[in-house]
Symmetry: C2
Subunit: 549 residues, 2 copies
Amino acid sequence: MVDTQRAEAQSQPLANPGDAPEAASMVWDAWGIPAGQQPLSAQIRGLLAQVFGVSGDPVARRDEGDVPLRESALTPAQRDGLVAVVGAADVSVDHHDRLLRAGGKSTPDLLRRRADGPQDAPDAVVFPADHEQVLAVLEYCATHEIAVVPFGGGTSVVGGVDPVRGRFATLIALDLRRLAWVRDVDPVSGTATLGAGLTGPQAEELLGAQGLSLGHFPQSFEFASIGGFAATRSSGQASAGYGRFDDMVQRLKVATPMGTLELGRAPASAAGPDLRELFVGSEGALGVITEVTLRVHPKPETVAYQAWSFPDFATGAAALRAVVQAGAAPTVLRLSDEAETGLNLARSGDIGGDAVTGCLAVTTFEGAEAHVVARSAEAHAVLTAAGGTALGAKPAQEWEHGRFKAPYMRDALLDAGVLCETLETATAWSNLAALKAKVTAALTDSLSAQGTPALVMCHISHTYPTGASLYFTVVAKQLSDPLAQWSIAKQAAGDAIMAAGGTITHHHAVGTDHRQWIPGEVGELGVRVLRAVKKELDPAGILNPGKLI
Amino acid sequence: MVDTQRAEAQSQPLANPGDAPEAASMVWDAWGIPAGQQPLSAQIRGLLAQVFGVSGDPVARRDEGDVPLRESALTPAQRDGLVAVVGAADVSVDHHDRLLRAGGKSTPDLLRRRADGPQDAPDAVVFPADHEQVLAVLEYCATHEIAVVPFGGGTSVVGGVDPVRGRFATLIALDLRRLAWVRDVDPVSGTATLGAGLTGPQAEELLGAQGLSLGHFPQSFEFASIGGFAATRSSGQASAGYGRFDDMVQRLKVATPMGTLELGRAPASAAGPDLRELFVGSEGALGVITEVTLRVHPKPETVAYQAWSFPDFATGAAALRAVVQAGAAPTVLRLSDEAETGLNLARSGDIGGDAVTGCLAVTTFEGAEAHVVARSAEAHAVLTAAGGTALGAKPAQEWEHGRFKAPYMRDALLDAGVLCETLETATAWSNLAALKAKVTAALTDSLSAQGTPALVMCHISHTYPTGASLYFTVVAKQLSDPLAQWSIAKQAAGDAIMAAGGTITHHHAVGTDHRQWIPGEVGELGVRVLRAVKKELDPAGILNPGKLI
């Protein structure tokens, strides 16, 4: 009986804010930290010269201190009001603090950051210590007409944290990094409660000290936060094994201008609509998620790697479908198309090097030894029968080694005069080939029409019994106005996704960039439902204006 | 490529209303059809005499035609208005039609049905042919102040279809049985669109003709409808393998007085809040679900059965937890406690006969041959290591054979002067033993205090990585006012569930009976959110008044 006692659950915080391992903050005008940045290799520069006719020489970036910033509109009275809630040390109008929260990391964000002229940014950055302070900040801002952008890791690639003021003269970034703790670890049930401000590495380190793991590894893992994962319906690279982030959410605590919501009492319930699903994916527009109780699992005893080659994308996609529908899914399950495989983009250590022929698929299997043995054997049989050739562990290990590096390469490409961006969608298996063809055509046609032929690559990185995601990477020569250039391509791609029956986003969320397509997702009546919820919880409309709805 | 073409999906209805196999309607005052009813065996009567001191002689039920019914309040003008929408043949004020929709099948419902005096019932029964007619009926009723109770199979055990008028003088039952079709079968993606009025057997028959199955087998399977499964977050006995009904929902079409909602574009999406989750579990209070696109799967090639014995419930629960957390879950996974095992209640063919010692667990494994072999071997190893003794296939096959029969036995018990009812909850694994003890104590104490000692049995029938459901069966001698007697016990059990951290319902839904505990589930602010959504979609408040919120 001992192992089913509630008493085993730990209800003390594992870490005070000071105890959490330090979170890495990204540089203001690019992805990641300086140590991660790398110049383009000679091989890639050769490819760029050959394909796009660009030299690949990087342009210099501006020094942070030299960047002119829109003057803070925070009034002394507003500052005093916020200081009364969180203390003077945690209300900042500092140039550096504001600039670091000037927006997310989409290619348009980064192009705007690199452009000359003054930068927009929040008027202040406020660092609440806990849920009660978040609640008090929201009440203050609702009363005093201050827009609030909840801020986690700042990794949004859809404009989700951009300082959009709407009708408000003043806007603050509400940085949740002090909510960095793990509580109520329950190893029997496999759950733990995490503060919204924890970054991916902080969460894994604190859970890892208890022998546990969340297993959520999106490309933004190193910088993004637990609250951000929940607010955007993030999906990690091990989603086939551990589920999407929304699948992991057992309980949410949400601060709104009208009070607190605590949602989720049981692993499953029939007690009416599931209100958690209103706040997961709410992108700070309906409330601020301050803590999340999540499904966790023991750190895997064993990890097995196996890469595969398929003759073409259609055969590979059918194989992935077969293995998922058989109930034999690996922990990681990915498939690159011919173009991505040909460039070795899945294995960033060797881009442009010797490629796998056809289409590369990566699988990993995690868990107890017996489970890994049984599952990998079952998957091996299904993938072989579906036309796959096993390539051994190495290409899969190379993929894992380089899996967080692609955004750094985008910065090097942007600096070298190359336009590079990604977008993603999902659809039913039966519609996958058609959707892929139409989005690829929309991207290549809209860029070619501007005189910049594009290279479009694609992979499947998230699979379900009924369908899969498609993740596109687009590369072309930059025009003199790359923002306008990409805007045309993005519009064409988004319209193509909706016309072809895909979702406008499988895991990047809505932000500002996908807002125009939301009526197509949920209909005008669905938008009215969302507005009714927002009006009930945020009647002043201070929460993340201009995002989502 | 052929097998990933959208073209394979069939977009023609497989069946017009007239083509669907006939749906069975339940008798008005008991569960099921007359052919299913059985007298108590001599063995059970002996047990009842010994334990409760009741003779077990059945009382006679009233003849349907003799039952006085509240006079229909439908005015001639209202009748004309509804006839203009659906036609004269599909607006009924017939005694039989009204009586069959007088409410659901909870023990209090059945006790009220058996009591002397006039019965309440809807003032009319309306049978719309399709979504557009549902929409038009709702618009008419909103304009003319008529309450609407959506009606599927009428199997609710929480008062979900009881004719609660609220502020309305007139109330109709909106019977969805004509929405009985399967469309857009997509065998590649494993999806199909089902009309809300299909019963479980109708759905399985129409899908089965295509080699497919839904795999949703709750105890109400024989009579309950697709729309009802969605509106109540039903969970089937094969939920460990195929998921809860809400897990299967890909897309919903919902009629509301303000128009139509079509929700769900992809297997997964990050395009904001998931509004499907507002309508799944909405119990007809926010809209009427008219069609559902569901995940389906090929009819299993193989089904393997294996029963287990565990020395006690705690050991068995820990074993179920181990197998689910290892990722080795069977398709069906159940565990009866000592009391239920002792009475052989899991094997209805042999109740009171030779029992399995300790606690009986039932597992089945479905799918392709290779999957069944791999998965059953993995589960076998985990369950053996956790202290289980394999009993072979027979007890599991007996469970499957009798799995829809328990509600018939309840009727025989009620007729024989025995009170019999069930209730259910779910919680985290670490809280399961404590919750079970507290609910059991609340039931036995509250009934003993009334002079009627109770037998309380329990099983786990739905499992998750983080926790499980608990399903209680209560048997005691009836007092002269069994409704009041059960009301006291139900109140005690519900309060105990909430105080002990369970959910008030894992799969029976809210209806009238659990409404008082909803603020405890979602908080007062959560209730306000639900009310805001209802006000937006149903400003007149005609939809299922008095249910859910």
